[in-house]
Amino acid sequence: MTSPVSTPSQAPDATPPAASAPAAASINLRSQLGTYIGLALVLCGMVALFSSLSDYFLTVETFVTIANEIPALAVMAVGMTFVLIIAGIDLSVGSVLALSAAVTAAAIVQWKLAVPLAAALGLATGLLCGAITGAVAVAWRLPTFIVSLGMLEAVRGGAYLVTESRTQYVGDAIAGLAAPWVGGISAAFVLALAIVAVGQLLLTRTVFGRYVVGIGTNEEAMRLAGVDPRPIRVIVFAATGLLAGLAGLMQAARLEAADPNSGVGIELQVIAAVVIGGTSLMGGRGSVVNTFFGVLIIAVLEAGLAQVGASEPSKRIITGAVIVAAVIIDTLRQRRAGTA
């Protein structure tokens, strides 16, 4: 049943034929800002809460720490945003992260390669893993859920192989990525921000982004409009693999070690961040900037709970409740504004 929709904005400068039609750009901008507000509110609420619980939460130090903890999650979430928009899912990011870090560490420590070369090798590994997931799914027209689940297992096995199931100590060879820069902020954080910005532009301003959204909305229609969805799918997964690889480097740089167990279960955290950011799991709709808000919410929650020393049970219960609540608040706000 078509329920009467609340009248959207009566912007004054109506030009075209029927009814009030605000210029497209202004619609987009306003509804975009609108979406940010919902998530920003959730975030502020959380910061306020933790500040009241801990004397040291509302300090520059806390925020610098959080800023330096999120790059890995953030870059993976950018990739995952594209994956979800294209109506896919990638469960293998955590394993890819571990393998890329492992390859980089092995390249430095065992094969004695130069650091840039080793890093490139790690990134290439991630790219390859993602490309395989995409290509297998495309070639046999399989659900990406199951292909990436297979990759989750297989790539983790690969990480064990490369490290011989031992945490590889790398030392500060690649620590530069995580080292504090201006005001304690690391290069990794700046890089992550740049990737968020590029991701958003790519999604909204390029032909590629248009294709991604279209394929996620109605693949058959895109095919019949002359767009071959297959290479685009593969590219999206390959890019996500690359970003997971980058996350692996960031992780290794921070910990100065490559742990074959790192990133276990992180795929759900990444997807949660993306979905909290309002991206649809059904494809066709999403925003990289909002994903970044989702990442912030998750990071602040984790940091805050650890800082106030919440017990393990209450950590889990609160995390679960916040994930659902964030999505509810955001959804309600969007519905009220008529954008969802």
């Binding site: 040291y56 806390t62 330096n68 011989e164 945490t167 100590y169 304690g184 100065e256 070690a257 020393g309």
Partner: protein, 290 residues
């Protein structure tokens, strides 16, 4: 011509500790290839009890003669161990001790070959305490809270701190993992800017703690200790970022377990009359230890 078949069932083979154990066992079998055959298995993480039970059942179906097990859970593995014993399989417990009460209820005895985790943690704690003074604050990063040895190590750390008059401001679980250990350590450092040390239940979490200390710009001001003496910790011991750890000789634990089982098989010692505990070593490791 029928060599006895021994199954070694461990926890996460993605943990260096168990990899070392597995390598030790395999090397031992190679050296004594004429005496027995070995099937080594692990589960995908430290906590997947159900998977470990399945593993034991599959080993029973393989008609093994002896089972050497590092249980993922001290209580939940008891029924399946009993089932194995009932089928005439000789069982030896290593690394993490099965729950005494549960064994008693099932009316079985299973020899434990392994170290005293509480004592080991105490050694590490005492070493740390020498650099602290009464009233200093420290935090403990615990392993998976449902495991007996994690609980024991936390107790050992607490014993040592109490003896030195040091305050433990918090115990949080880092799930035996580097990432989680890092997050928890970072939180503790922010909440307690005057924290003097972090005591981690294993070396993976200690690595995470070292990174957190560095990120907070407190290298050298906050001490870190660990447990296990894995490879990755050695450079940190060398440059002082980690003060101490404990070595519980993973490889030897498995080998002792296997040898205990082989001897009992050869002597036809019944399960019931095997010794309850065979202690293995745990030693303190610092920069200066060899």
């Amino acid at each position: 011509q029928d060599k006895p078949k021994v199954a070694l069932v461990m926890k996460s083979l993605a943990n260096e500790f168990f990899r070392t154990m597995e390598d030790g066992a395999k090397a031992h079998q190679k050296a004594h290839a004429s005496q027995y055959t070995l099937i080594a298995n692990g589960i995908k993480d430290e906590t997947d009890t159900a998977a470990q039970i399945k593993m034991v059942e599959q080993m029973v179906a393989q008609k093994i003669n002896a089972l050497v097990i590092a249980p993922a859970d001290s209580k939940a593995l008891v029924p399946v161990v009993k089932a194995a014993i009932d089928k005439g399989i000789l069982v030896v417990n290593i690394d993490n001790q099965l729950d005494a009460a549960a064994l008693k209820e099932k009316n079985i005895t299973v020899p434990f070959v392994g170290p005293d985790n509480r004592a080991g943690a105490r050694l590490v704690g005492d070493e740390l305490a020498r650099t602290l003074k009464a009233g200093d604050k420290v935090g403990i990063i615990e392993g998976v809270s449902t495991t007996f040895n994690a609980q024991q190590r936390t107790l050992g750390f607490q014993d040592a701190m109490k003896a030195a008059g040091v305050t433990v401001v918090g115990v949080q679980s880092g799930q035996w993992e580097i990432d989680k250990g890092n997050t928890v350590a970072a939180g503790m450092l922010r909440e307690h800017p005057d924290l003097k040390a972090l005591l981690a239940g294993n070396d993976s979490m200690a690595l995470g703690a070292v990174a957190a200390v560095k990120a907070a710009g407190k290298t050298g001001k906050v001490q870190v200790v660990g447990y296990d003496n894995i490879g990755a910790i050695k450079p940190m011991l060398a440059d002082g970022r980690v003060l101490a750890t404990a070595d519980q000789f993973a490889a030897k634990q498995a080998v002792f377990g296997i040898e205990t089982a082989l001897t009992a098989l050869a002597d036809k010692t019944p399960q019931a009359s095997m010794p309850a505990v065979i202690k293995t070593d745990v030693v303190l490791v610092t920069k200066t230890s060899k």
